[in-house]
Symmetry: C2
Subunit: 240 residues, 2 copies
DNA sequence: CCATCACCTTGACCTGAATCAAGTCTGGTA
DNA sequence: TACCAGACTTGATTCAGGTCAAGGTGATGG
């Protein structure tokens, strides 16, 4: 799985990677990319395949370089909480001390870049700004989680679904809530439900209600248009 | 508010602080304590007083040096989610990019050590292991939050209260679930409810039910004994 | 072109926790 | 010692969202 290419190859692998633009890798200079590439390896995960096992020893960090991934925790009887969706550029594996606090699996296929902890440590020793960047990443994640705890602990089903839709908007390259927004929801209803702490039936009903209220239009299961994004945003904040 | 003491004073302030043992400050050598102390300042917060305002510009980190603190987020209509309780040694302020993602207030009075971001940056530049320590702290916190999201999204009221009791045990110096455990619950029921995403009535009812089932005994409002900690732990995991 | 399967929607009903409304207990004060 | 205020408990009732049970839909393959 480890890199066995020429220096040009490995340099290029990082140079053209989304992680290079979006993720922690951006804190490394161009000239040092080969070092970065040598500490990491590419991997592909098929749809629905798991690549982080909750509770397993945490030996690697990952950067999502393509496709999508879902992160979750399980209760012994199978109840599942999806703690996040991750796509290109997202850094995974900070929520772990010795073992992973979450499981992860591909959502429609994903490519990842894997950094063994030992290699990451060599990198942070060599590039101290990387360590700072990791902390920033953790802080960003922590701030998101605060908001999600409020969603799960205190918001109504309607507010949760509205929040989810607005979150999806904000993942777009150019978020603009002042006009209709076309959204792609690549995850099945089950995943949306497990993300929001609801059942699929409730998610479905609320989307139908939004449709009836002309807040959204449902072009297909995965394709939704927010007709009044600002009203949805108001609902999401619990102000309606 | 900044330190204006003799070097011995400031050295001593850090040398005898709980943060010295428990928090990120442990990554600094004894001989450098004066530097640490010079970048920080002590403050006292009275019961119920707020010292971090959600959404305010994040200018400081804090270490809880005494007493207790609660962290929370609010919805516009006043609904509150308590995202954590913090006590001696706990590091605060990582869940922020430019502004704080949470508010914080003292729970029965607290003393804090404040580190302005600029000072912390000087410290991390001088002591690179400190940056690593901050990341570890963030990772620990992230792992906790994963579990809390599962609690809020997927556990029943009974499971939530049981989880809360078990969490309290684990904050004890010597956690041992094999025999009865005496617990002190220094927070009012309102705070427990807002932490668990429930109402005070539900929390109260479930504690009463646990009492009737001889799982706990309630010596006073703040003083509870877990008679069968392992059964409570089983309930907490959703396995009963 | 139809059958199948997986996923989604809709409806009817149920239930766990919220809400509303009394009590009760506690510690502080006079 | 009695009073009071605030925090907690308990009971009655309601309701949001879950559960159970049919349908619908759309992609795939024969």
């Amino acid at each position: 799985m480890s890199a066995s290419h020429t220096p040009e190859d490995v340099h290029d692998r990082c140079a053209h990677c989304v992680g290079r633009r979006l993720s922690v890798c951006s804190s490394i200079d161009d000239c040092d990319l080969a070092i970065l590439a040598n500490e990491s390896s590419r991997m592909t995960v098929a749809d629905g395949r798991s690549f982080i096992e909750e509770g397993a020893p945490a030996n690697d960090f990952f950067v999502v370089t393509g496709g999508r991934v879902k992160l979750f925790t399980l209760l012994p009887d199978g109840r599942r909480q999806i703690t996040g969706f991750a796509e290109g550029g997202h850094f995974l594996g900070l929520a772990a001390s010795t073992s992973y606090a979450f499981g992860a699996e591909a959502l429609g296929g994903a490519t990842l870049c894997r950094f063994p902890h030992a290699g990451m440590q060599r990198l942070t020793e060599r590039f101290p700004t990387l360590e700072h960047r990791l902390r920033e990443e953790a802080s960003r994640e922590l701030a998101l989680m605060q908001a999600r705890m409020t969603l799960l602990g205190r918001k109504t089903a309607r507010e949760r679904v509205a929040t989810f839709l607005i979150e999806r908007c904000q993942h777009l390259e150019k978020p603009d809530l002042s006009r209709p927004v076309e959204l792609d929801l690549p995850m099945p209803r089950t995943d949306i439900a497990d993300y929001l702490g609801l059942t699929i039936e409730t998610v479905s009903r609320i989307l139908s209600a939004f449709k009836k209220e002309k807040l959204i239009s449902i072009r297909s299961i995965t394709h939704i248009t927010l007709l009044m994004p600002e009203r949805i945003s108001t609902i999401a904040e619990g102000m309606e």
